[in-house]
């Protein structure tokens, strides 16, 4: 099984550019999450979704957007990249909220 797949693995953006981080899971999980990880800060929840067509803000949603048109896909959109968005981004999924979350391998994003 592929599990949770994130693309790309690495990306360098210029200030003001936009991009979409892709996340796909093949486990038929209802819940999906986007996190950013900064040194010493742990993982901060950006957005999450409890099913197709339903999304909600997490702890640090500013500067990001998401959509969930299918159960499998949960893309994260950065519209106007800023240096503060330099981070490692993780996508995760779980069947329901109290079950194990499975993580992708991460996307390392640098904004210069």
């Amino acid at each position: 099984n592929a599990g949770v797949t994130q693309t790309p693995k690495f990306r360098i953006l210029k200030i003001g550019q936009s991009m979409t981080l892709q996340c796909t899971q093949d486990m038929n999980h209802n819940y999906m999450y986007w996190y950013r990880q900064d040194p010493g800060m742990g993982l901060k929840l950006i957005y999450y979704s409890v099913g197709a067509g339903i999304t909600d803000k997490g702890e640090v949603p500013n500067g990001y957007n998401v959509s969930r048109s299918t159960t499998e896909d949960f893309p994260l959109r950065l519209e106007l990249a800023a240096p503060s968005q330099t981070s490692v981004y993780f996508c995760a999924s779980s069947y329901v909220q109290a079950t194990e979350a499975f993580f992708g391998q991460g996307t390392r994003l640098t904004v210069v």
């Binding site: 819940y31 995760a92 909220q97």
Partner: protein
């Protein structure tokens, strides 16, 4: 409000000695609690979880954690550290009233020979 606090940012132990990583939670509802481990440049892997069954939870690689409601704690322990345990450990919670999986700031565990 829901939150997770890991009380130590760094813990250093000698190989063969006990490990204690501390985690406190705050939640208005009965939480589900998790410990994840992250090795360098890797994603997160589940060590163990508590979901309102037995308060002492056993996980992989000899780790266990005890849910103490009176202390709002979920500390992770291992009787004897191994060099391969060196990694970053994250405590996380999901509350019944929320759908968010929230993480603590992490504890970096160093194991010395």
């Amino acid at each position: 409000a829901q939150s997770v606090t890991q009380l130590d940012s760094h813990v250093s132990v000698s190989e063969g000695t006990p490990v204690l990583l501390r985690c406190n939670y705050s939640s208005s509802y009965s939480p589900s609690l998790f410990w994840y481990v992250q090795h360098p440049n890797k994603g997160l892997q589940l060590l163990l979880k508590y979901t309102s069954a037995a308060t002492l939870v056993k996980g992989i690689n000899g780790f266990e954690a005890e849910f103490k409601k009176s202390e709002t704690s979920f500390h992770l322990t291992k009787p004897s550290a191994h060099m391969s345990d060196a990694a970053e450990y994250f405590c996380a919670s999901v509350s019944g009233g929320y759908n968010k999986l929230i993480f603590g700031a992490g504890t970096r565990l160093a194991v010395h020979p």
